[in-house]
Subunit: 354 residues, 3 copies
């Protein structure tokens, strides 16, 4: 078993960390660091980071023994490491002390693996995992216990699949992908033809799903197979928990789908798109590159690249904020108009009389 | 293992397909068809369909070797099959070339089946599936690997239950039902009595769930058991992924619940109702037959049959669209009213002066 | 196997029930009761309850053989038990006839339990459950089949974990907790640093999750581990199905999170808070104690204690209802203002002319 967390046997000095991360330091280089934490919760011996000069005052209160600070900042109460991107440098520092838990590359004797499956070197397959016929699994990929991989699935290298995940027949998954617990990849798309008596004929979902390299998929997320061709999640896209991706959807590279987002059938989402939590996209909609979508937004029409939108149905975020601010004034507005009407009537009477 | 997709060993001619589907054709009947596709993605040898005459121009660009077109349309560049309902005919054509993956009707040696369970003929039970005491499973039903079926569950014939599904104690499931991966049927309803100190007493959830024939349930959907009687999903209703159905809910026949819909406790949904994605219904609400509910709608009151609604709280869709259009004009309206007020004041001054 | 439901071998008389529940009764004390039901669906031999005097008329139609009624009510057609809190007394009566299904405290021979795990007395571990290294499980805790418990997890006593649940490395779970099927506790938080080319660097999620005593977690709910410290669900809080709790969130004691609620990273929710279905909270937000949040509310800012809110973005529920009512009047308001403008113009012309 790998080390689980923060249980590095021996400390590193500030000087050593600075050398390993290739960044300058100031103050006592022999200060020993045994772990890492946030500014507020740090204890003696821990390393923290300051993301921006404007939070400088938080340094005063921290009990940390060293901090990574922005290049253009200064501090001398504790030793500091300086970085152009303190959060990124902190992530690298964390990796000196912490390694996420992963099982060793062994195949558990209880795992059921079809004789026709091709398993490359250094693969881990956990207890009670089921690997169907003609499945291919690349080197160093880790399948946790209780995973169901249906026939003809192809999985790349260095991919991690957590417990209770189901991967349906024929789905293709790239390298360096992480799929969290309970996710379902390749379930049938939701398509029916309605008869006149309201009964439905199931439209066969004959397509598949393609998950490209470096995608991460959250817990209990569901990604449906296409009716005819393929549902695609492009390289580097990150999907949070409980997200619904319907059949024949395509998500471009490096997009972010936050928790409980829903995307309906055949919609295309561009590259570098960011969707806030619980936002939804109707079917057959196109979202341009780098669009930002606020949480709970409802989208029924195409959105051009670089837009920022909110509301149901969506509008430009500036309009949304302006309208939202005006809403609270409507009840008063109605009263005002009523009063103005009375005043106009009076004016009209007077004019008439004269 | 059944054929997975589109891997029919030998092609069919247009003439043969026309005969098998019992529909007229025009053009070269000996043209060979090896598969099917969409109009845009079709390759040589593939069959496509045109849903309506208005899309006729798409036929020009397709590389397909034959098309199913509406009865009242004409085309002669490639052979065509004619149908009153081209999509329905296409579905039947797809079934000539494609069969969804299903395991053979065998019981895997690792499956744990209680000796008191009754398993009928030609049932498949996958690796590591657990079948509790006094469970009954009808003929030709398929249980994929890693399924948990608690005691006293009754499942009909020809039903398919995918991996990582949990079916809780005493739940009843009909014939020809499909339950996708990770779905949970019969978890405890969410009911508590609140004490004065805010602590809660759990209300025992003593009821069960009834899933009638021909229902389909999406991946990671959750359907709770009733507190006292039974949560019911009626015949032919289709439920998408990540849908929440609370305790004592009843959904009528042939309704459609799209992804991430949520229905609160004791609400009753009629027949032929269509709910768009992420729509929600509060508790103890009645939705009439054939109601259509837009995506993200929030419903807190009863809705009469045949209504079309949107918004939170819901309103008639026409009102919703009208109000939605008017919203963008509020900021200007506020300005206009302000200006009119000034003009009225001026008028009043003038009148007074005179 | 325990009794599943309502299958008590011998009936109790009204007199005996009154004695067991320590409450007064009126009418024929020897009436035999064999089960319980709701007022509408009750059959002969069943016990029902009336929550409030105002529903008194429902007693006339019930076929029940006895009823628990409010202290200040009267009825003589059937025997009645009187209680200050009829629903709470009914729950206690239900427990005389019904016991939820739980497996016997045995460890199934197929369960895979690490030799370094510590399992206390009277623990049940179901078929195909996987218990990782150094896991600790307290006495009388029940692990259903097909559960994945990663290394170093600590679980208290009398806790119930249903099938297809995943509990990730290092998570701590208290006593008397119930976790329903398919829930995921401790999946990675959703955190990335974005590079200039839009590719993302994963922020290591080194923290854990703490679930305190008497918490209940719904089916297919996901609770993420913290990036640096700990995601906390405090004592007595109840979480419904398909809820998303992001990294570093803290939920206070005795709160209620209804189905499909989503809470973004680092937000803090107070004690005794009630969130309606599909409501969402943005990141880094603080919700005071006893706040009530309507279904589908979207929260982006802190909320003081005891508030009641609705809308996206949220506002006080009274404002929300007032604005919601005014919305339908906007289209007419626009017309009215247009007409008033014309009348003002006419007045202005007349004044000028004179």
């Amino acid at each position: 078993m790998n080390k689980l967390a923060k249980d590095r046997p021996q400390p590193l000095t500030v000087k050593e960390i600075a050398r390993l991360l290739n960044c300058p330091f100031e103050g006592e280089g022999n200060t020993e660091i045994v772990g890492f934490s946030s500014l507020e919760k740090a204890k003696k011996g821990e390393l923290v980071f300051l993301s921006h000069r404007k939070y400088h005052h938080h340094l005063e209160k921290t009990k940390a023994s060293a901090a990574i600070i922005p290049q253009d900042d200064k501090y001398d109460r504790i030793p500091v490491l300086k970085s152009e991107n303190p959060h990124l440098t902190f992530i690298k520092a964390v990796e000196l002390f912490y390694e996420p838990y992963l099982p060793s590359p062994e195949i558990h004797p209880t795992a059921q693996i079809s004789p026709s499956a091709k398993i490359e070197k250094d693969v881990a397959i956990g207890a009670f995992s089921y690997i169907g016929e003609e499945v291919e699994i690349g080197a160093k990929t880790i399948i946790f216990p209780l995973v169901a991989i249906y026939p003809k699935v192809k999985i790349g290298q260095n991919t991690v699949i957590h417990s209770c995940v189901s991967i349906r027949e024929g789905v293709r998954i790239g390298n360096d992908v992480i799929i969290h617990n309970g996710a379902v990849i390749g379930s049938d798309g939701f398509g029916y033809l309605r008869n006149k008596d309201d009964s439905q004929v199931k439209i066969p979902q004959t397509g598949t799903v393609l998950i490209e390299d470096k995608v991460e998929i959250g817990a209990n997320t569901a990604i449906d197979r296409a009716a005819l061709d393929v549902t695609i999640i492009r390289k580097g896209t990150k999907i949070d928990n409980l997200v619904q991706v319907a059949h024949s959807v395509e998500i471009g590279e490096n997009s972010i789908l936050t928790g409980q987002v829903g995307i309906s059938g055949s919609s295309k989402v561009g590259k570098g798109v960011i969707m806030g939590g619980q936002a939804g996209i109707a079917d057959h909609v196109k979202i341009g590159d780098k669009v930002m979508i606020a949480a709970q937004t409802g989208i029924m029409k195409d959105i051009p690249a670089n837009s920022i939108v909110a509301g149901t149905p969506h509008m430009d975020i500036k309009d949304f904020m302006r309208i939202r601010a005006s809403l609270t004034r409507i009840p008063e507005l109605i009263k005002t108009v009523k009063k103005l009407k009375v005043r106009i009537e009076e004016l009209e009477k007077k004019i008439k009389r004269e």
